[in-house]
């Protein structure tokens, strides 16, 4: 296999897959493969060797067995909405599309769980559970399109993580197919399982350890009522302090979002949410629960925000107004797309106390690179999404945007945070991994990978950089402000 041309490999594999899959689910032609060339990070594109679309677990097992025998890499893909290039194809790899595995297998309201196939859309789970008064809590912004299999691979978050946790906190069990095509069940119907917590290890592993073929998710009762307050601040630092004050008060909001002036103005121009465009920053604070609880909480939120220096606090009078408050935040990314030909969305997490410093340094970098930046922030959990505005048609701007983005991520690491809060490392942030982790920790990750996938066939080259790559990237490992070899000069 190794010496044959790509074309020969394609035909050879297609023949072997044809023993197990109907021909229409083996995509060989360039125009058939083209739609799979990228995921949500569209700046990176590559055509896969070929695409297979299995319709059940047995077919996935058969595909994996063939790939294992032939030592061909496999890249799993759900809806392709990921933002870090985790599902970016390779020319020498089979792309395993799981979109046909889209059935809800069981909904068990008595046990507050649902067993679903990986291609089920995130929102579809909540829709199916609604008649029972239940829903699935993690709600990444792409929830209308993204699939649960992808959510597991990325440990997807959303705006409600502070109170309800990430994907990893909302799973009971996984059925996976190993690189050799064996089935393996992880977790169970109860809250604890024997042995090591492989459920946690698999969640967020970006398709590098196994192929997720069934997911048992926890369901929660739908809150009786949701209310949101919108607060305006004349100063970003004050808005950041207000978040700390809310937490200190013992309030655990369901959602707590911040937008800086650039992002709130862009959003206001786009969807007319009624945002105060002269504010330096706004906070959206959502509380949920039963009726009484929400009334009590929103009053506390309002009082606290005013005491923390908000120039104005509005609470939504009805569902329509609540939707309008959120519309601007939810439109923040497309709004950036309206004021700039292209934008690049970053995803770092920082300890919240460093917000003011990080925003100041982003502003300085923005000057330095000559590119505008707008910031939206999951303020409750410290997850920052700077949007770098650039023009992909202007020579050098994409490269400048990427470098600017890389600097922001390194800044996040420097203040004790991380290079990715919810989008994953994928292909996009692989170099910044070198800045976050020293060699011994990267080696540990590689060893874990090898435990599941000794030949490195599952989504190779993503998420965890090789030590060689880090050496080439020349990253200086900086952690919590400690520079290694501080006595050496750096230029």
């Amino acid at each position: 296999m190794r010496d044959s041309t790509l074309e020969q490999r394609r035909h050879h594999l297609a023949l072997r897959f044809a023993d197990h899959l109907a021909p229409e689910f083996i995509l060989m032609n360039e125009e058939e493969r083209r739609p799979y060339e990228c995921d949500g990070l569209s700046a990176y594109r590559l055509l896969p060797l070929l695409v297979v679309l299995p319709g059940n677990i047995e077919e996935v097992q058969a595909v994996m067995r063939v790939c294992y025998e032939e030592r061909v890499p496999v890249i799993a893909r759900g809806a392709g909405t990921g933002l870090s290039g985790g599902a970016l194809p390779r020319e020498d790899a089979v792309l395993l599309g799981l979109s046909r595995l889209n059935r809800i297998l069981a909904l068990d309201p008595d046990n507050l769980c649902a067993r679903v196939q990986p291609g089920v859309r995130n929102l579809a789970i909540s829709e199916a559970a609604r008649p029972y008064g239940l829903y699935y809590a993690p709600d990444p912004s792409s929830q209308i399109a993204c699939t649960i299999g992808g959510n597991v691979a990325e440990n997807a978050g959303g705006v409600h993580c502070l109170k309800y946790g990430l994907t990893v906190n909302n799973l009971l069990a996984l059925e996976i197919v190993t690189v050799k095509g064996e089935r393996l069940r992880i977790g169970g119907s109860g809250l604890d399982s024997p042995g090591y917590d492989l459920l946690a290890l698999l969640t967020g592993s970006e398709g590098m350890l196994g192929i997720v073929l069934e997911v048992t998710v926890k369901l929660l009762p739908i809150p009786q009522r949701t209310q949101v307050a919108l607060a305006a601040f004349d100063d970003v630092e004050q808005a950041g302090q207000a978040v700390a004050d809310l937490i200190a008060e013992g309030i655990l909001p369901a959602g707590l979002e911040m937008m800086d002036q650039a992002s709130l103005r862009a959003a206001e121009d786009f969807v007319h949410a009624g945002y105060p465009t002269d504010a330096a920053a706004i906070l959206l604070c959502e509380v949920d629960g039963d009726n009484d609880e929400v009334s009590e909480e929103i009053a506390r939120v309002r009082r606290r925000l005013l005491e923390s220096g908000a120039s104005e606090v509005r609470t939504a009078h009805d569902e329509a107004e609540r939707a309008r408050f959120w519309a601007g935040r939810k439109a923040a990314f497309p709004a950036a797309g309206r004021i700039s030909p292209d934008y690049y969305c970053m995803d770092g997490t920082i300890p919240r106390k460093h917000l003011a410093r990080v925003l100041r340094e982003i502003a300085a970098l923005s000057e330095e690179y000559g590119l505008r930046a707008a910031n939206v922030f999951h303020a409750g959990d410290g997850n920052l999404h700077p949007l770098i505005l650039y023009d992909g048609n202007a020579p050098g701007e994409l490269e400048r945007a990427e470098e600017f983005g890389g600097k922001i991520l390194e800044l996040c690491v420097e203040v004790g945070g991380t290079i990715t809060g919810e989008h994953g490392v994928g292909m996009e942030k692989i170099n910044q991994m070198c800045a976050q982790f020293p060699p011994e920790e990267l080696q540990l990750f590689h060893a874990i990978k090898a435990a599941f996938d000794p030949h490195g066939l599952l989504n190779p080259g993503k998420a965890i950089p090789t030590l060689n790559r880090c050496a080439e990237f020349g990253a200086i490992h900086v952690k919590a402000g400690d520079l290694r070899f501080p006595h050496l000069e750096r230029f």
């Binding site: 309201p109 008595d110 046990n111 507050l112 993580c161 990893v168 906190n169 069990a173 064996e182 393996l184 169970g188 119907s189 109860g190 809250l191 604890d192 399982s193 024997p194 042995g195 090591y196 917590d197 492989l198 290890l201 592993s205 350890l209 739908i222 009786q224 004050d245 937490i247 200190a248 013992g250 309030i251 655990l252 629960g289 039963d290 009484d292 909480e297 997490t349 920082i350 300890p351 106390k353 999951h378 410290g382 997850n383 945070g417 991380t418 290079i419 809060g421 919810e422 989008h423 991994m433 976050q436 920790e441 540990l444 990750f445 874990i448 990978k449 090898a450 435990a451 965890i464 952690k479």
Partner: protein, 354 residues
Amino acid sequence: MTDDLTDVLREQVREAGHAGTALRIRGHDSKAFYGEPVDGKPLDLSAHRGIVDYEPTELVLTARAGTPLAEIEALLAEKGQVLAFEAPRFDGRGTLGGAVASGLAGPRRPWGGAPRDLILGVRLLDGRGQVLRVGGQVMKNVAGYDVSRLMAGSLGTLGVLLEISLKVLPAPIETRTLLLELLREAALARLRELARQPCPLSGACHLDGRLYLRLSGAHASVDAWAQRIGGEVPAPGNTFWEHLRDQRLDFFERPGQTLWRLSLAPATPRLACERDSLLDWAGAQRWVFTDHPAEAIREQVAAYDGHAEIFHRGEGETAPFQVLSPILVMLHRRIKERFDPAGILNPGRLGAVC
């Protein structure tokens, strides 16, 4: 007293690694009964203690593994915050490291999570005496594999926990206990009905014909739900939940008898082995005393996709943990080999493979 003994511990682990001496990692040793016994030289973490960092407004606490839970909980209480997983404190003792390594959680588990849900990052010593830092101190972090959660419940077989960062939560404004006289099936039916409503439950236990419910939340909400649910309110100062958490209820007082812990979907019907049992976690955790043989118990539980372990081992009892499937055994072995190539860290505590 605050002491960072990282260097001393690293030397001890290195020496043991070179000599191939098994180590038995201990904090307060309050959970020595749990898991397989380890025949090894004690590695004492109890003096490696102290709260390294606590910022109430960040909802993050970092402490050394030997720090007593009592010390951490007292400090959190001053700021109106809690460790939501309500780690059991047997005989009033227990360290943060032991709580995380055992992965055990108290009555709030279905609503508040377990250590694995709240852990943000750890510093650990692997079996080579290498200090590794995994995860971090922020709530959302998906860079690299989630090795810090892997530590929760690994019973010290993968590393010596040195320092742990956790998400902490605001303490509920109001907490109230309700007591309903209900037989088991009726109690489970009542729980199924409540679980589908936005009821602020934080505890649900059935014992001896009584359903104990704990409500935690805003005043108005707790009031309204208490009225709706009805039942008696036990006398002030009732310590039922504390006693449940720390296994000080009379139910648990049977020295020498084997205590089983079953983990099941909450609505699972009563199993044959469950004649003498306490339901916690709204039915998802069941404490059982029984004379059924271990094999029969494991079979009954497996039929409902749950799992059973021996928590307190009586005389002549078999292995506490269930045998894993061959693929899982292989994965456990490979993971263990990476963290602890010489097999010196609590060897066998989590079962023969680790």
